[in-house]
């Protein structure tokens, strides 16, 4: 207690230097939380959106299906196994048939994936209900990005072509019945959604599917022969890698900031031990052991982190709370290439803030302690005479 009081007095006495160090450290503290919060927010937002619009509680992939190899699509369809069929009937799964095809908006060829999905499904958040309204023409559901790149508007007619089960080309006129806005690019770009049963018939793949997406939160997914179950974690791993890659760059940035702040404190401590050696001698003469003097000096250094956290909370706290609630827009956010949405809501979680605070405390204390070790070797009589280091 006494030592804490003394340390606070000494810090106060050191004046501007203390504040400079604390401000520098608070920048690092705030930068870590700001950056990490943004990443965590991105991560969560991306995962939430992808889960809602695409992955649900995981997907069964027909054995031959490989999203990275379009050539496998020809074989990637099989009769829907009864287990999965009954899940779909119960509303707990949405089977999807994927067929390679193309569109001819304004006479130009555009390769697309035709995806058949039941208009009544509620497993993923796609507005598939719109596909149930029309009967005559092939109803098409596309995303806003595809609409923009093809120039298609709501109600437009467009020729759609595909290869059927026998490899023969077939075509039909379709009409855009819905243009959806989604942050999940992978259900939009190059995708055309059509009614499940219609596509099965047109492609000659009756009763067949390529993917079966199960409802979010479903446990105990059955093992189905000929189908691989992909967990949400597996499906999200690509996205996570993108965020990870961004996180590495950021980690480097705030590590440098943190390092600079730590250097400043280390430097202050080295200088302090050197310049205050007479004072150290005096403290020992007054009845402190050198071990206690070390604790005192370490505490003085470590207290910078308390000041830094207080300062950071003061100037960045309100900003964080605001951003957490209201989010913010990054210009050109759509071009990030993954599901961010219009606004980014950073996630400044208690865990993140607490973790960063502890990290800053621990590292600052360690860095503060390092230079004080020489006090243990300092002879009090030498120190009093101003000799020695």
């Amino acid at each position: 207690m006494t030592i804490l009081k003394l340390a606070i007095r000494n810090l106060r006495g050191a004046g501007i230097r203390t504040w400079l160090n604390a401000v520098a450290l608070s920048f690092a503290f705030v930068a870590i939380i700001f950056g990490q919060g943004m990443l965590q927010g991105m991560n969560k937002q991306v995962e939430d959106a992808s889960t809602a619009f695409e992955f649900g509680g995981g997907q069964y992939w027909q054995n031959s299906y490989d999203p990275y190899d379009p050539l496998t699509l020809e074989d990637a369809h099989a009769p829907l196994p009864p287990v999965l069929d009954s899940l779909a009937t119960a509303g707990k799964a949405a089977p999807i048939l994927v067929v390679a095809g193309s569109m001819y908006p304004q006479g130009r060829l555009k390769p697309v994936l035709l995806k058949g999905i039941s208009p009544v499904q509620k497993v993923i958040a796609l507005p598939t209900a719109a596909l149930g309204d029309t009967t005559e023409e092939l109803p098409l559901l596309i995303g806003s990005r595809t609409a923009a790149s093809t120039g298609l508007a709501l109600g437009d007619q467009v020729t759609v072509q595909w290869r059927d089960a026998d490899g023969a080309f077939d075509a039909r006129d379709g009409r855009v019945v819905e243009i959806m806005h989604t942050s999940v690019g992978t259900v939009d770009i190059g995708q055309v959604w059509v009614p499940f049963a219609t596509l099965q018939k047109l492609a000659g793949m009756e009763g067949e599917a390529t993917i079966v997406t199960v409802a979010k939160g479903m446990r105990n997914t059955p093992v189905v022969e000929g189908w691989n179950f992909r967990t949400p974690g597996y499906l999200l791993s690509d996205l996570r890698q993108v965020v990870q890659a961004k996180s590495v760059g950021q980690t480097v940035m705030f590590s440098v900031l943190f390092l600079l702040a730590m250097l400043a404190i280390f430097d202050t401590q080295v200088l302090s031990v050197f310049r205050r050696r007479r004072e150290i001698g005096m403290l020992v003469a007054l009845g402190m052991t050198r071990a206690r003097v070390i604790v005192l000096f370490t505490l003085e250094g470590a207290l910078h982190s308390v000041l830094a956290v207080m300062l950071g909370t003061l100037y960045a706290g309100p900003l964080f709370i605001y951003l957490n609630r209201n989010g913010f827009t990054i210009p050109g956010m759509d071009t990030f290439g993954y599901a961010l949405g219009d606004k980014l809501y950073p996630a400044y979680t208690a865990g993140l803030i607490l973790g960063t605070t502890v990290l800053v405390f621990v590292v600052t204390t360690f860095v503060s302690w390092l230079p004080t070790r020489r006090i243990a070797k300092l002879n009090p009589t030498d120190a009093l005479a101003g000799r020695g280091t």
């Binding site: 006495g13 009845g287 402190m288």
Partner: protein, 241 residues
């Protein structure tokens, strides 16, 4: 030997064939040689001698900041060479006050806080601290400068604060290493008169080092050191006009 008015005659410090050598490069420097001395409670004694004669070295050993190379030093019943750092620190913090020539005060503390410091180490309550610090500042005539920082005090005032800090815990023993070396005549006399008064009123034992004639006038005992040896040890009638 004469002692302070009515104080019981008991040994506070004794040394026996005390030797302290320093290694300087390849050779050995003998700073103290066969110093055998006794100091009694309530003494007002001075170590006098030219520069390098070993005054500071002896005071450091008596103050448990240093240990003898050979021989013994007994301070307040404790053998200096046998004390652990923790025990020595405890002894200093309770029973020994120090006054140095310069750099006496903790720079970032006010006069009040400097005087309070030893009491904080002793863990006294804030009420006790306030009373003792106020008393001590009054003894040295600086009650009105309690809030001043060392940089705002003159050399003489700083030394008086240092005296207040040395005596605030009512130690048995005060060690003062050339306390007046940086002061003018007037301040030196004030300081000495303050210490004489405290010695008389509190019965505290004072041991000085000095080569200042002004100080020597106040001593009741003058120990002359030459080349680390006691050359002369005489009782005196102080002349304190």
């Amino acid at each position: 030997m004469k002692n302070g008015g009515g104080v019981e005659d008991s040994v506070v410090v004794s040394t026996d064939k005390l030797v302290r050598t320093f290694r300087v490069g390849r050779s050995e420097l003998v700073a103290l040689k066969d110093v055998s001395l006794e100091f009694h409670r309530g003494e007002f004694a001075g170590l006098v001698g030219p520069s390098g004669s070993g005054k500071t070295t002896l005071l450091n050993i008596i103050g448990t900041l240093d240990t003898p190379t050979s021989g013994t030093a007994t301070v307040l019943g404790e053998r200096v060479e046998k004390l652990s750092p923790g025990q020595a620190a405890a002894l200093r913090s309770r029973q020994i006050g120090f006054i140095f020539q310069t750099f006496n005060l903790l720079p970032v503390y006010s006069a009040y806080e400097n005087v309070e410091f030893p009491l904080l180490l002793l863990g006294l309550s804030s009420a006790e601290r306030r009373k003792k610090v106020t008393d001590a500042l009054e003894w040295v005539g600086l009650a009105d400068r309690a809030k001043s920082k060392p940089t705002q005090l003159s050399g003489g005032e700083s030394q008086r604060v240092a005296i207040a800090r040395a005596v605030v815990k009512r130690p048995e023993l005060v060690l003062a290493d050339e306390p007046t070396a940086n002061l003018d005549a007037e301040n030196s006399h004030k300081i000495l008169q303050t210490m004489v008064g405290l010695n008389r009123d509190l019965g505290t034992t004072f041991i000085f080092s000095t080569h200042d004639e002004k100080v020597i006038r106040y001593l009741r005992r003058k120990i002359s050191l030459v080349d680390g040896k006691v050359a002369n040890d005489e009782a005196r009638s102080p002349n304190t006009d």
